[in-house]
Amino acid sequence: MDLSLLPDGGVGWLDASGDHADIVLSTRIRLARNVEGYAFTPRARDGERLRVLSQIREAAQHLRPLQAGMLLRVDELPTLDRQLLHERHLVSKELAGFDGPAGVRTGAAVLLGDDVSLMVNEEDHLRLQALRSGFELPAAWRAVEQLDQDLGGRVPYAFHGEFGFLTACPTNTGTGMRASVLIHLPGLVLTKEIQKVLAGLQQIGLTYRGLYGEGSEVVGNFFQISNQTTLGRSEEELIDHLAQVVRRVIEKEEEARRVLLRDAGTTVEDKLWRAYGTLRYARSLTFEEAMNYLSGVRLAVGLKLISGLSVYTLNKLLIFCQPAHLAYLEGRALTESEVHVARARYVRQALSSEAGTAG
C-alpha cells in the first residue's frame, strides 16, 4: 500500500507545527454518528453495512475535504496493510479487525481527506475525525464540526430529542464526541507526581489511556487525556474543560522538569545522554526500549540539553519504529528478532542524519 498517495502521507499531525508541540504530540476530536434506518454496525448484516458504505461514499463526493481524499476498503486489505493503517493512527484497532476474534468486518472502510478522516462501519456507522499536530483543540473542533454539518445535511443521522446522537455504546451517547490530547509527561513520571495527576483527572470527568488507545499500555510516558462523559454538557463546554485541564497539566510537567534539573541535574543529564547514546549505537531494540529511550531524548530536547534534533524527527520515530512500518521499509515480512534489528538500524539512520549536540 502506498500511503505517500495521501495528501500529507497521513502523518501531517506529526510535524510538530502546533501549539506546545514539545510536550503535546497531537490533538484529536472524533464524533460518533449513526445512519438512521439501519441496525448499528455490530448487529447489522453484511448487506446493510455495504448499503451504509455506499450511501456515505455517495455523500462524500460532495464534501470538499473528502472529495480529493482516498477511500480504503479495510476489509479488502491484507493484514500487514491494516496494521500499517493502525500504526499510523489512521484507523482504530476495531476497524482494522484486531480487536476481537471476529476480525475485520465486511464494509469496514476509511476515507482519508485533507485534514479530516471518516471511518465507516466502526462500532458506529461513522466516526468523523480531525487530527492535529500539537495542542490545537479549537482548530480540530472547527474541522470536524464542519464535516459533521455537511455530512449530516446529506445523510440522516440517528438523533433523539432527549438523548442526543445515538450510538452503539451508551458511553458515547449525547454529543458522541471524544476530544483527546496525546501528551508526553516524563517529568511527572520521574518525580512520581503522575499518580496524583491521573487520579485528579478521573475525579473531574476526564480519563487517560496509553499511546495506542483503549486498553493500551502507557509506553514512553505518553498519555492520551480525553473527556470521559459525552452527555449533559455541550461540545464547547467539554472541549473548554479539557483545554483548561491540559493547560494545567502542561504547567505541572514544566514545573516537574525544573525540579528535576535543579535537584538531580547531573544524574538526569547523564541518563538522558545515555538514552541518546543507546539509540545512536544499539544494534537491536525492542519496541518498549525504543519508546523509553525516545522519551528520554525527547525530554532532553525539551530541556535544551540536546540540540540539533527536531521534534518532528522524534515524532516520526514513534510511528516508524512499529513492526508493520519496519516491514514496509525492509520490503518483506520480518521475524521478531529481525524487527528489533531493523528498528535499531532505522533509529540510527534517523538520528545520525540530524546529529544531536550538547546544548
Binding site: A39, R154, H160, F163, K192, G232, E235, L260, D263
Partner: protein, 161 residues
C-alpha cells in the same frame, strides 16, 4: 526481561526512582511492584470497558416499562447486558427506562444539551438515495457488460447533476 527482584516473572513495570539526587531504574513484575507500593496503573490504565459492563449489568435487571426486545433489530436486554452495545437507534426507545438510569450513572446526566440536529429534507434524501441506487446499478451494469442498460442509467443520472 525478567523482574530484577524475584527473577521469576516478566518485568512489566519500569520503576524510575530519584533518590538523593540519583536516578535508578528497576524493572519489576506486577507482584513485586505492588509489594514496593507502586501502583501499576500507570503501566496499564484501568479498564473502562470493564467498569462500564459492570454498570450495565447492575443496571438493566429489567426495569418495568421496558420491552424485552427491540422490534426493529430484535436485540434483547440480555444481548445488551452481555455486550454493553445497543442493536440500533430504536433500542433507545425499547429500553428507555433502564437506559435513562444507566446514562445518568455513566454521565451524571441523561439529557443532551449539545448540538441539536435537523435531518436533511425528505426530497433531498429521496434524491440522494435514488442517485446512490442508480450509481450502484450502473456499476453492476458496466461490470456485467450490459452497455445498453448502462447508457440508459447514465442518462438518468445526468438529470440529477
Amino acid at each position: 526481561m525478567l523482574c530484577e527482584n524475584c527473577k521469576e516473572r516478566d518485568a512489566v513495570v519500569n520503576l524510575t526512582q530519584v533518590k538523593s539526587g540519583a536516578v535508578t531504574q528497576l524493572h519489576l513484575c506486577e507482584k513485586c511492584a505492588a509489594e514496593q507500593g507502586v501502583e501499576t496503573s500507570v503501566a496499564s490504565p484501568h479498564s473502562q470497558i470493564g467498569d462500564f459492563l459492570q454498570a450495565v449489568q447492575q443496571q438493566s435487571l429489567t426495569v418495568p416499562g421496558d420491552q424485552s426486545s427491540c422490534h426493529f433489530c430484535g436485540a434483547t436486554t440480555r444481548d445488551f447486558r452481555s455486550s454493553g452495545r445497543l442493536g440500533c437507534a430504536r433500542c433507545y426507545g425499547a429500553f428507555e427506562r433502564s437506559l435513562r438510569e444507566l446514562l445518568r450513572r455513566l454521565h451524571g446526566n441523561s439529557r443532551h444539551t449539545g448540538r441539536r440536529y435537523e435531518p436533511p429534507a425528505p426530497e433531498l434524501l429521496e434524491q440522494a438515495s435514488l442517485v446512490g441506487q442508480l450509481k450502484d446499478r450502473l456499476r453492476r451494469a458496466v461490470e456485467a457488460e450490459q452497455f445498453e442498460l448502462a447508457a440508459e442509467l447514465r442518462d438518468r443520472l445526468r438529470t440529477y447533476e
